[in-house]
């Protein structure tokens, strides 16, 4: 099973999904991320799905789970880069991802986190 790498930039953890996600990979990622948030004291999590061509109910639920979980550990989550076809499909599937913040791209996602946490992007 492949693992999704978690990168740290300042106080933000960046997860860029570049592989076809299978369910076990998703579960391991949630656990890895929880552990990294606590260990690094990160204040923000960005999940970049620019390269993800489908989001089904299992993957969609991961976004909600990570958002809720990180909030409990004092970190904000933003999902960035959702493709239009993925957004259309998610709505028709019946998954609205309530409670998950989104931004169009990585830069806007960084800015969104930076706006609520001013010292975030400069790495202190």
């Amino acid at each position: 099973m492949e693992r999704v790498p978690i990168l740290k930039i300042g106080q933000i953890l960046l997860v860029s999904i570049q592989i076809d996600l299978q369910d076990q990979t998703v579960q391991v990622l949630q656990e890895d991320l929880a552990e990294r948030i606590v260990r690094t004291g990160a204040r923000g999590v960005i999940i970049d799905i620019t390269a993800v061509d489908i989001v089904d109910s299992f993957i969609g639920r991961m976004f909600s789970t990570i958002a809720s979980m990180s909030r409990l550990m004092d970190a904000e989550t933003v999902v960035v880069g959702m493709r239009p076809a993925v957004a259309i499909t998610l709505v028709e599937l019946g998954l609205s991802l309530g409670g998950v913040r989104t931004a169009l791209d990585l830069e806007k996602g960084m800015r969104l986190l930076g706006a609520s946490l001013p010292s975030l992007a400069d790495g202190r």
């Binding site: 369910d23 109910s57 299992f58 639920r61 239009p84 259309i88 499909t89 019946g94 998954l95």
Partner: protein, 136 residues
């Protein structure tokens, strides 16, 4: 008219669910489905392949390109398992209902994302779900 059937893709692990998605993507693109329709049928296939694995105890998916009487191309996928079957079909097709730990969007979501949806099940006799998406 139907293209020669492909070998069924076995579904016995999470990696196989990914393989089913890839096979459906290839067939949907070859049938000329739009990007949005490709995404819908691949997403539906992902839900149904997971159901086959989790609730059916494993099975297989048969992916084929089909053509209707008017010459319209499409992709059809039949998911089959020899699992316990579904005792109450109406309940299983109720939004948000789940017998497991999922969200209950698998069957209902797959039905909404496809043009044709057939569910064939018998308690103790396994389940077959067949979905079709046509090019517009």
């Amino acid at each position: 008219m139907t293209a020669p059937p492909q070998e069924p893709v076995p579904i016995t692990s999470g990696d196989d669910v990914v393989r089913v998605r890839q096979a459906v993507r290839t067939a949907a693109a070859a049938a000329g489905l739009s990007l949005v329709d490709q995404t819908k049928i691949v997403t539906a296939a992902s839900e149904l392949a997971r159901n086959t694995l989790v609730y059916g105890g494993g099975g297989h998916a048969r992916v084929e390109r089909v053509t209707d009487a008017r010459g319209r191309a499409g992709v059809r996928i039949a998911f089959g398992d020899d699992g316990p079957g579904i005792p109450d079909i109406d309940l299983a097709l109720t939004e948000g209902w789940t017998s497991g730990s999922g969200l209950g969007l698998g069957l209902t979501g797959a039905r909404r994302l496809t043009d044709e949806f057939h569910l064939d099940t018998e308690v103790g006799g396994g389940t077959t779900v067949t979905v079709t998406k046509w090019a517009r």
